[in-house]
Symmetry: C2
Subunit: 515 residues, 2 copies
């Protein structure tokens, strides 16, 4: 047994059995160790951002980490953008990054770089000088770190940078996993202070565990009893919702809309959420969006037991029997005529199977949220960190974590192109992922943001940085070239036909909706 | 005039006029400033690794930096891998990375991350707190830093992280460029000590400016006079070569081959190069590859005037009239039959126009090097840092820097998929880039490296991390879907026909050579 064998064996014993991999020479001993462990599933991705996004999607569904296998600094670099999203999602992820031996690192060979510094951008835990004899133990520390909620936004990404000789030298023992500490509960007197402050002008803002179904029920009961509002943040990591779930608002994206939404609120209760802030800074609007006189009270931060705090609140205000309004299933018509974001969303909401997982990104996908509430129970994985190119990779991870479940990747044309390599892995692993490209042939959000600068027209040179129609990307053909059946549709009937064909087929499909 | 206007105006006045861009909301004022400056050419890339690789390719041909425009930490993250290559190439690159305002950063909105830490992995110069009134001046500092050789391997990447309000607030002046200091020359007595040590068992090892044509002539004259060897490192950034250039060896890749090559060498003279070290660390071979008794003498490090040092050496040993052997033009047959890496290389060497630029990557492309020496004068851009996915982006930059020159991107199938988005920008800008995919349906180098572990067979699970044929990527169709004409060929005649069609056409083409 060498260090690599001990590391992989430890992971398997601890239930970490999926590896999204793009290895290189410095990871060959890890590949050899994986080859000897059939329980450990290596899934090849053609680009490291697909590995990290898939690990994020996997974690959000499985509730435990997958491992990524990345090649030195550049491999980790390619994974940074989706690790940023994973960090913002609070997803447990373990990165295994191969490195030179320490002696070799000192010689500054071409692939040498300061991996530790790079890792710090996205990792709450970084380790870089393991030896073979303790590599398995350090792997269990990585797992424990990934399963531990950190304060603030540091996330749960653990990056284990492995010197090559820690893999190839002999190891003796396989370490046991470390039991993570339970989430600390909020003290009753603190919860009571929130209970006392609640009025009909309060808003309870949920994120992370505050959106677990039981936590959401608790918040809804409280809001129903008090007569106040309850909302989720704009981009929570995971939301299970649909008919039968309590109704909930969603914070808008643009700061003007958030401010308008909060104008009559004088008390915000944060349950796993941060205070409402603008996504970007703008010259004309503030960054903090709650009204100045509004009191902001933290019920429980994300690294505390948010669910328990909300349940304590229910008991304190006697809301056990409150009956919140729930989403009701409504039969919807399937729209006809030319395709629009709205009609794609309506058809998708009608046709998707119960329990579907929807992976959002930048682009039109968010339009599905509203009709889906009244059509079908579903799980929504949002683009948490604003780093576009998450949806396709996250769909891989979700499909691996929940075999037999229909997964959708809802992607803008621009967003999809950051990690288009995801399609190949979907085909290779025959994953039940239907990718919808909302193809409006532009970075639509940038056009909107640019016009917000106060200019009335987009000049040619600026426009050339937003438009995606010269040349027009043929996504259906692109999908086919990567092994995924592709359809290109521009009216509702054709979209509906393509969608139904995709739902009947095992494995992935891409539908390009021309808007 | 706002800060963004002053920054772009300063760059234009300093001759920095090309921007490889993938902007987001926090860069909209920079886009607006670019819109007002027709002399500043914005080139949209669909993925940031394409921007940074293009900037590297541009710098290697133009000898001055292009600017990249990247969106916060994730945008820079996506650019890291090719910035690593740029750093290893010593290419001057200026990254403009938009950031939140400092006040907004403190609120930890979703896209907030520690960009400065991230930038340090690849940048020898980082700046992050500019204000509008000094942004133009800081831009000129970035340019000066990019044009300044640093010690060791820190490279010439300058990363300017720009708070959004430094763009939108008013500015008054446009700063002037800073004249970079001339390269320091090596002292005559130092050069003389090298001259005295030269024998027929010496090897002069060239990299960076040691490979400038005049420096290479000087090294060849010295070697010819002394009767010793002269070689380049395995992956120098740029080599101009072909018929009429002095013959030169190339250090091999695998450590065993390097050691074999050096077995009779007792003195290595480094001219812009580092000592021979293994690319990766292996259990069975050393990392330092020169024979133990070999004396290693540094003639001039890369941040000194290497060319002058070599010319001093010529004078000291009286080699002015030495006549080194040069590559001779030889008529080659165009091979027939099934395609192989070798036959692709032979045909390409025969058909490429004088002065072509060849952008290498991992894969079969290096096979073109040998026949090209005796067929056609050319410029070779190597994969410098081992971070694959450089060739396609570098070809964009080279084609932008040298309009009218034929550029080739020589890519392995695996390597091409890291930055396949490059094709779209090649189509959009109608660049004369011919991409050759050496399609062997696998990560061939990893199979080789894996077998070097001492295993005789690749197991199914390990093999699944190396093979790329399930599904087979249809590169010709993929190219067409991104606006680039594509050919898929599997015999020599078809490859030759496709190549000649590509050479006659303006704009890009992709030829997928099935091996």
């Amino acid at each position: 047994m060498n260090g690599a064998d001990s590391l992989i064996a430890g992971f398997v014993e601890a239930g970490v059995t999926v590896c999204f991999a793009n290895p290189g020479t410095s990871e060959m001993h890890l590949v050899q160790a994986m080859d000897a462990k059939p329980e450990f599933r290596g899934i090849l991705c053609l680009f490291e951002g697909v590995c990290t996004g898939a690990a994020d999607g996997y974690a959000r569904i499985a509730g435990k980490p997958a491992v990524t296998l990345l090649h030195l600094g550049p491999g980790l670099g390619n994974g940074i953008a989706n690790l940023h999203n994973a960090r913002r999602a609070g997803s447990p992820v373990i990165n295994l990054v191969g490195n030179h031996t320490q002696a070799h690192e000192a010689l500054d060979a071409p692939l040498t770089s300061d991996i530790e510094t790079l890792a710090k951008n996205v990792s709450q835990w970084v380790h870089c000088d393991a030896q073979a004899k303790n590599l398995s133990e350090v792997g269990m520390q990585a797992l424990a770190a990934a399963m531990t909620r950190s304060t603030g936004s540091k996330g749960q990404v653990a990056t284990l940078i492995i010197p090559a000789d820690a893999c190839w030298n002999p190891a003796e023992t396989v370490a046991k996993s470390i039991q993570p500490a339970p989430l600390p509960k909020m003290a009753a007197d603190h919860v009571a202070s929130v209970a006392r402050a609640l009025t009909s002008k309060s808003l309870i803002l949920l994120d992370r565990d505050g959106l677990l179904p039981s936590a959401r029920w608790a918040a809804a009961r409280v809001a129903s009893k008090v007569g106040c509002r309850v909302a989720m943040t704009a981009f929570p990591a995971r939301v299970d919702s649909g008919p039968g779930y309590p109704e909930i608002e969603k914070m808008p994206y643009f700061p003007e809309a958030v401010m308008k939404s909060l104008v009559d609120v004088d008390h915000i209760v944060l349950a796993g959420a941060g205070e409402p802030v603008s996504f970007f800074a703008y010259p004309q609007t503030p960054s903090r969006l709650a009204p100045e006189a509004c009191e902001i009270q933290v019920l429980a931060e994300a690294h505390f037991d948010v669910q328990d705090a909300l349940e304590q609140l229910v008991t304190m205000i006697g809301a056990e029997d409150a009956v919140p309004r729930c989403y009701q299933r409504m039969a919807g018509d399937v729209p006809k005529g030319a395709l629009s974001t709205r009609s794609v969303a309506a058809i998708l909401a009608q046709r998707m199977p119960e329990g579907s997982i929807l992976c959002g990104d930048s682009g039109g996908g968010a339009a599905v949220l509203e009709p889906a509430q009244r059509s079908t129970a579903h799980t929504w994985l949002n683009l948490t960190g604003g780093s576009i190119g998450q949806g396709g990779p996250a769909a891989i991870g979700a499909a691996v974590a929940a075999p037999g479940t229909q997964v959708f990747a809802l992607l803008g044309d621009g967003a999809s192109m950051y990690t288009i390599q995801a399609l190949w892995t979907q085909a290779r692993e025959r994953l039940d992922v239907i990718t919808i490209i909302f193809n409006n042939q532009r970075y639509g959000i940038l056009e909107t943001e640019y016009l917000r600068l106060g200019v009335n027209e987009i000049g040619d040179r600026a426009g050339a940085l937003f438009d995606l129609n010269r040349p027009l990307i043929q996504f259906s053909d692109l999908a086919i070239s990567l092994g995924v059946p592709g359809y290109r549709v521009s009216d509702c009937a054709a979209f509906d036909d393509a969608l139904q064909a995709a739902l009947e087929r095992k494995g992935p499909t891409l539908i390009e909706a021309m808007l």
